[in-house]
């Protein structure tokens, strides 16, 4: 335990922001930046993919389905290497590792977000679409003013879970030497040499604290949303079922 505290005292700056004032930014700051920006950029793409998958037109739904299956079937590490080789080819100049990682995360997360959005849209009663169309809204209006707002509200917990998994995915930036948290820890380990267990258990704890807090937030919101949704049907029954869920 003493060793771990020593490691924190000596290296907290490296773990938190890398060599920032004197060098490139890194550590936890980059991990959070990558995952946050990644999910924010991936979200609109995910919505488009989901709408394409739900579309009755095959020229939209088939490519979208193919993209989702390819992403689900190929390891993230393979995607990272593909981006690592292809993006510089397209741009005709070398690209920073952090950009490579961001591009990969956006592609990867958008496919998973698309599945979440699709599930949310399909979870809505079909009467919503019928009613919206009956009062004269166009397809676009129905989708963006009626269906999506409800679907996204219901999907907030799932989106937070996806954010957690994107934080965990950034650890793979290590393989292309992106200066994020795992990379920082491996540097510390390489400097110390004698305390690998202490360094990596510390690394695991940092990830654990952040991700567990977010997971708790997702669970809390899930319960709240379930309560609100069921509110009109019978608040007492909903409270009972939510409390049952909370207890188990």
């Amino acid at each position: 335990m003493n060793d771990i505290i020593n490691i924190i005292q000596d290296n907290w700056e490296l773990l938190l922001v890398g060599q920032y004032p004197h060098g490139p930014i890194g550590g936890l700051a980059v991990t959070l930046f990558l995952s946050l920006v990644g999910i924010v950029l991936a979200f609109p793409l995910g919505v488009v993919l989901a709408l394409c998958r739900l579309s009755p037109f095959r020229f939209l739904s088939w490519p979208a389905t193919a993209i989702v299956y390819v992403v689900r079937g190929v390891p993230l590490i393979m995607f990272i290497f593909w981006t690592y080789f292809i993006v510089p080819q397209i741009l005709g100049r070398p690209v920073a590792g952090i950009t490579t990682m961001l591009v990969t995360l956006v592609i990867y997360q958008s496919a998973y977000l698309a599945e979440i959005v699709r599930a949310g849209m399909q979870g809505l009663p079909f009467g919503q679409t019928e009613a919206a169309r009956a009062i004269g809204l166009s397809y676009m209006q129905t989708t963006f003013k009626v269906l999506l707002p409800q679907a996204i509200y219901n999907m907030v917990p799932a989106i937070i879970s996806q954010f957690v998994s994107s934080i965990k995915d950034t650890a793979l930036g290590y393989v292309i030497s992106v200066n994020e948290l795992t990379f920082a820890a491996s540097q510390i380990n390489a400097n110390l040499l004698t305390m690998p267990f202490q360094v990596y258990i510390l690394l695991a704890s940092i990830y654990f604290v952040i991700c567990a807090l977010l997971t708790q937030l997702a669970r809390y919101l899930e319960r709240r949303i379930a309560l609100r949704r069921a509110g009109k049907a019978g608040a007492s029954a909903a409270v009972a079922s939510a409390m049952q869920q909370a207890n188990v």
């Binding site: 190929v74 290497f81 650890a171 290590y174 690998p196 360094v199 990830y207 991700c211």
Partner: protein, 232 residues
């Protein structure tokens, strides 16, 4: 951007053998990790559903820890961290027996086991408690009731989620390359650095991963269909 594709390297037995070895490593790693994950999943799920508070707490902590830390960090912790804590004799034995492979297998198996135990628990929770009560009233022991009555039904409910996580497990065996276990991604990088035929070799292994993942998804769907109880 024009790329000249040249797949002739796959006709050279040297590289073909390397890729084959990698593919075999990936399959071996996936199979072993899957076995460990399923065993852990059943154990943890049963512990979590038991009446003992201590068992519940241990199982919950196990699941939380494994779900909230990246798999890569688990593998590092096992390969670099835990390995250093082992007594010298054990270390020597493991180093002589492909330690990269062993620790990657442990890390992946334990981590995905946590996810699968949650799938299983979801399935178990969907079975009404009266089933357990009825089995107990009929004179089955707690474990018997679980094995003969609850689990067979729970497995059917949780099958889709377990299949999803099996595909994830298969994909994540690629992380073993970071500690140097010989599997498909590792071999791909190796062949790439020897031949510089980047696109060809990455295309080949991507297709292999995708093909095997789709095969797993299809196989899962078949099993799901086979074990479904009809007319209910």
């Amino acid at each position: 951007m024009t790329i000249q594709l040249d797949f002739s390297l796959f006709t050279q037995p040297e590289f073909l053998g390397q890729v084959g070895k990698g593919l075999l490593g990936t399959l071996e790693l996936a199979a072993l990790a899957f076995a460990l994950a399923i065993a852990m999943a059943v154990l943890i799920a049963v512990m979590r559903m038991s009446n003992s508070k201590a068992c519940q707490a241990v199982a919950a902590a196990y699941v939380e820890y494994h779900q909230n830390v990246p798999l890569l960090v688990h593998i590092f912790l096992w390969y670099f961290g835990v390995a250093a804590l082992l007594p010298a004799g054990v270390q020597q034995w493991i180093n002589a027996h492909n330690s990269e492979f062993i620790f990657a297998f442990i890390g992946i198996g334990l981590c995905l086991g946590a996810y699968m135990s949650e799938d299983l628990r979801g399935g178990i929770r969907s079975i009404p408690t009266s089933q357990l009560e009825a089995s107990r009233a009929l004179g089955l022991s707690y474990l018997q009731a679980f094995r003969l009555v609850i689990l067979p039904q729970a497995v059917r409910v949780s099958m889709p989620a377990i299949i999803n996580h099996t595909v994830l497990l298969f994909k994540n065996t690629s992380l073993a390359m970071t500690v140097g276990a010989v599997e498909l991604t590792y071999v791909t990088k190796e062949v790439e650095s020897q031949t510089f035929r980047t696109f060809e070799i990455y295309l080949a292994s991507t297709v292999m991963y995708l093909g095997l993942s789709l095969l797993l998804m299809w196989f899962g769907a078949v099993i799901e269909n086979r074990i479904r109880i009809r007319n209910r």
